[in-house]
C-alpha cells in the first residue's frame, strides 16, 4: 500500500513491463525455433560432408593414381585469380543451306554457308552498369569480315527509374528486329524488315532511354526513346545529315492464366539521305556509277515510319504452345531516293509447338517495296518446321514461295538451317 501511494503509476507500469517481457519471451522462443532448425540443417550438411570425406579418403587409399589425376575443385580464391572477373562468353553458330531459283540472289543459288558465328561477351562493369557485346563473324564468299553486331553499355538507376543504353544495339522496332538470326522462328527475317531496315534488320550506334510508365491500373507500359546514327538501314541509307529518332511504346495483357498479348507501336523519323553515288546509263546502255548531289538538298525528316506489332501466346498443357506474331509498317517519304513515296508491308506468323522436340508454323509476307512505285506488292508464304535437338541446338527447315511485285517473277526457295551454341548465352528479356 505504502509503495502504491508513494508512486501511483507503478501499477500500470508493472503491467506494461510484464506485457513487454512476455512479448520478448515469445519472440525469443520463435527465434530459438528458427535457430534450432538452422542447426539441424547445418548438422545434416556436416554429416554429408563427413561422409564425402570418408568416401574420398577411401578412394585415395585404394586408387592413388586415378585420384591424383582427377581435376581438383578450385578454391574460391584460386577461381578469382584464374579469371573470376572474366565476362560470360558464349559462341553461337548458324549454318545455312539454301536452294533457290532466283537468279538475282547475290549469294548464288544452291549454296551452303556458315551464315554467322556470333561471339558474345557480357558482364557487370560496376554496381551500376553492365556491358553486352556480340561480334559476328561472317563467311561471305568474297568478303569475310567481323561485324560489331551489338556492343552496348547499360546504366541503370537514373532519376525516375530510367535506364540508358549507349553503343551499338538492335533498334527497338517491333519484335523481330530485336532478335538475332538464331532466335528467329524462321530461316530469314520477314520481307518488310529486310526491305525497310536491312537483310538482318536495323542495328545501329546510338543512345537509348527507357522506362515504365506508372499508371493506376498496374498495366505494363514501357516507353523507349532512341537516337540512332543517321545513315542506317535501307530506309535511311546514304549520307547522314541528322540522326534517326525512334520511339517505341509497348504494353502487355494477360486475358487468362494461359494466354498473353503484347502490343507495341513504333515511330521512326529520319532523313531520306541521297546515296553518295548512283547508277546512270552512260549512253551506250552500260550502267556506271556517278557522284550525285541532290539539287534541293535534303528534307528534314523526309522519312517517317510507323509500325504496329502484336504477339499472342497461348500456353497449352504438357508444355505445348501456340504463338501468333504480326508486324505492320507504313512509310511516308519525300521520294528523293526511292520511287515509292508510301511503301508498306506486314507479316503474320503462326507457330505451334506440339512437343518438346518439334514446332511447326507458317509466315505470310506482304510488301509494297521501297523501289517499286504504285500499288504492286510482293507476297510470300513460308511454311517451316523446327527440330529442337536440345536447348542448345536446333534444326530449321523452311520452304518459301514468293511472287514479286508485278507478278512476273516467282521464286521457290528451300532453307536448311542449323543453330548451335556453347558457353554462356542469355537472351535479353523483350
Amino acid at each position: 500500500m505504502g509503495t502504491a501511494s508513494a508512486d501511483p503509476t507503478a501499477g500500470p507500469n508493472l503491467v506494461q513491463e510484464m506485457a513487454d517481457i512476455k512479448r520478448m519471451v515469445v519472440a525469443m522462443e520463435s527465434h530459438m525455433e528458427v535457430l534450432k532448425s538452422t542447426v539441424r540443417a547445418q548438422n545434416e550438411i556436416i554429416e554429408r560432408q563427413n561422409y564425402r570425406i570418408e568416401v574420398f579418403e577411401k578412394k585415395q587409399t585404394s586408387l592413388p593414381i586415378q585420384a591424383a589425376a582427377m581435376p581438383q575443385t578450385p578454391s574460391p580464391a584460386k577461381t578469382l585469380m584464374q579469371g573470376g572477373f572474366n565476362p560470360d562468353i558464349g559462341v553461337v553458330g548458324t549454318t545455312q543451306g539454301k536452294l533457290t531459283q532466283n537468279k538475282a540472289d547475290i549469294d548464288g543459288n544452291n549454296t551452303i554457308v556458315l551464315k554467322e558465328l556470333e561471339v558474345n561477351f557480357a558482364g557487370a562493369v560496376d554496381p551500376y552498369s553492365r556491358l553486352d557485346a556480340t561480334l559476328a563473324l561472317n563467311d561471305n564468299l568474297e568478303d569475310q569480315n567481323i561485324d560489331i553486331e551489338e556492343a552496348y553499355y547499360t546504366r541503370w538507376g537514373l532519376p525516375l527509374g530510367f535506364t540508358t543504353q549507349l553503343g551499338k544495339f538492335r533498334a527497338m522496332i517491333g519484335k523481330e528486329n530485336l532478335m538475332h538470326a538464331h532466335q528467329l522462328q524462321t530461316a530469314d527475317y520477314p520481307l518488310v524488315i529486310q526491305n525497310f531496315f536491312g537483310e538482318e534488320g536495323l542495328s545501329s550506334s546510338g543512345a537509348r532511354l527507357k522506362n515504365s510508365i506508372p499508371n493506376p491500373w498496374d498495366l505494363p507500359l514501357e516507353f523507349t526513346g532512341e537516337i540512332l546514327r543517321g545513315n542506317n538501314g535501307e530506309s535511311f541509307s546514304g549520307i547522314s545529315r541528322r540522326p534517326i529518332f525512334n520511339t517505341h511504346l509497348k504494353s502487355f495483357f494477360e486475358p487468362s492464366q494461359d494466354t498473353n498479348l503484347e502490343l507495341g507501336w513504333t515511330t521512326l523519323f529520319g532523313d531520306e539521305n541521297p546515296p553518295r553515288t548512283i547508277l546512270v546509263d552512260d549512253g551506250t546502255g552500260v550502267m556506271v556509277e556517278e557522284e550525285y548531289t541532290p539539287a534541293e538538298g535534303q528534307d528534314r525528316y523526309g522519312v517517317k515510319v510507323f509500325g504496329g506489332d502484336a504477339t499472342f501466346n497461348w500456353f497449352l498443357p504438357e508444355g505445348k504452345r501456340v504463338m501468333s506474331q504480326s508486324e505492320i509498317y507504313f512509310q511516308n517519304r519525300t521520294g528523293r531516293v526511292y520511287d515509292n513515296n508510301a511503301p508498306w508491308g506486314f507479316y503474320s506468323l503462326v507457330e505451334y509447338r506440339f512437343s518438346p522436340k518439334f514446332s511447326t508454323g507458317a509466315r505470310f509476307d506482304y510488301l509494297n517495296p521501297l523501289d517499286v512505285a504504285g500499288r504492286q506488292g510482293t507476297t510470300s508464304i513460308s511454311p517451316y518446321f523446327i527440330f529442337w535437338q536440345s536447348e542448345f541446338a536446333d534444326v530449321k527447315l523452311q520452304y518459301s514461295h514468293t511472287v514479286y511485285a508485278g507478278g512476273e517473277k516467282t521464286d521457290n526457295a528451300a532453307f536448311f538451317v542449323v543453330d548451335f551454341m556453347i558457353g554462356a548465352h542469355k537472351h535479353v528479356v523483350q
Partner: protein, 312 residues
C-alpha cells in the same frame, strides 16, 4: 520546331512520372518471388506486412520460362526479391537486367537466396554440356523435400528481418509456426510413405531427387536420356527393359511435361503415370505448400498402393 515541341514534352513527361511515382508509392513491403511456391511460403511468413507477387507460371517448366513485360514491372517495383538461387531460374539475371532495380544486383540484403544451408544433391564433378542441361552447383529442385521447405522458411524470415528489422519477431514467429505445422505433416507423410520404402520408380526429369530420397523411393531411370534432353528411341528401349527388370511402379512427371512418351512406356510395361507438382497453383486446388505436398503424397500413395501386389 522540333526543339519547341521536344523540350516542353520532356519536362511535362518528367513531372508526370514523378507525380505517378509519389501517387502510387507502396505502403507495404513489396516482395516478388520467382516461383508461386516461394511466394506462398513468403506470404505465410510476412502475412499482412508484405505484398507478394510471383513470376514464373506454375503451369510452365521453371527452366524454360520466358519473363514477360509484366514480370519486368513487378521486379522494378519490388523492395525484396526471393529466389531459389543456384541456376534453377536461368532467366533470373536477364529479368533483373531488364528491370534495372539496383537493389537486386549482387548479393545485397534485398535479394534473398533461399538455397543457403540446403544440403545439395548431384553436384557435378565436371561441367560439360555433353551431360545435358546439368546444373553447375548441384540439383536445384530441392523444394521437393519438405524438410528443405523449413530451411527456406527460415531463410525468408531472416531475409525479411534484414530488410525490415522492426518486424523481426513477427517474421521469426511465423517461420517457427510454419515449420511446426510442416513438422507435423512431414511425420504424417513419412508414415504414409513408409509402406513403399525402396519402391522402384521412374522420373521424367531429374526434378524429384530430393522428394524420393526423403520418402525412401528408388529412381531406376529417367525418361530424359540426360537432363533437359528429349527422349530418344534407343534410350526408351533401354528404359522399358529396365522397368521390366526392376518392376518399377510409377513414372513421376510434372504436369507441364509431355504425356506421349510416358504413355508409350506405360503401354509396353503397365507402369502407372503420376502427375505431381512442385509449384503451388498447379493443380489449382494446391493452394499452398502444405496442400501441394499433401496432394503429391496422396497421388503417389494411391498409385503405389493400387500396385502393392506387384511390389517385389
Amino acid at each position: 520546331m522540333a526543339k519547341k515541341i521536344l523540350i516542353p514534352s520532356l519536362v511535362v513527361s518528367s513531372f508526370a512520372l514523378l507525380f505517378c511515382h509519389v501517387l502510387f508509392a507502396a505502403d507495404k513491403l513489396n516482395v516478388v518471388a520467382t516461383t508461386t511456391t516461394l511466394a506462398n511460403i513468403a506470404s505465410e511468413i510476412g502475412q499482412y506486412k508484405i505484398r507478394v507477387a510471383s513470376i514464373a507460371s506454375p503451369k510452365q517448366n521453371i527452366h524454360h520460362y520466358a519473363p514477360t513485360p509484366k514480370d519486368v514491372l513487378k521486379v522494378k517495383k519490388a523492395d525484396v526479391l526471393i529466389h531459389e538461387g543456384l541456376d534453377l531460374e536461368a532467366w533470373r539475371q536477364p529479368l533483373l537486367d531488364a528491370a534495372g532495380n539496383s537493389r537486386f544486383f549482387g548479393d545485397g540484403k534485398y535479394s534473398i537466396d533461399v538455397s543457403r544451408g540446403i544440403p545439395l544433391l548431384e553436384i557435378p564433378t565436371s561441367l560439360s554440356r555433353s551431360e545435358g542441361d546439368i546444373h553447375a552447383f548441384g540439383n536445384p529442385h530441392y523444394i521437393g523435400d519438405p524438410e528443405n521447405a523449413k530451411i527456406i522458411a527460415s531463410n525468408i524470415a531472416e531475409g525479411l528481418t534484414n530488410v525490415d528489422p522492426e518486424n523481426a519477431a513477427f517474421y521469426r514467429k511465423n517461420a517457427a509456426s510454419f515449420n511446426e505445422r510442416l513438422d507435423t505433416k512431414i511425420k504424417d507423410w513419412e508414415a504414409r510413405m513408409a509402406a513403399f520404402q525402396g519402391a522402384p520408380v521412374v522420373t521424367y526429369h531429374r526434378s524429384w531427387s530430393y522428394f524420393v530420397k526423403r520418402f525412401g523411393l528408388v529412381v531406376i531411370g529417367e525418361v530424359e536420356p540426360k537432363p533437359g534432353i528429349p527422349p530418344t528411341a534407343k534410350h526408351l528401349a533401354a528404359l522399358i527393359q529396365q522397368i521390366k527388370n526392376k518392376n518399377a511402379k510409377v513414372i513421376i512427371k510434372e504436369y507441364f511435361e509431355e504425356n506421349r512418351t510416358p504413355k508409350k512406356i506405360a503401354e509396353e510395361t503397365g507402369i502407372r503415370i503420376v502427375n505431381l507438382s512442385q509449384a503451388v497453383g498447379e493443380p489449382e486446388n494446391a493452394k499452398d505448400y502444405l496442400s501441394l505436398v499433401e496432394q503429391d503424397i496422396s497421388l503417389l500413395e494411391e498409385a503405389l498402393g493400387t500396385q502393392k501386389g506387384r511390389v517385389s
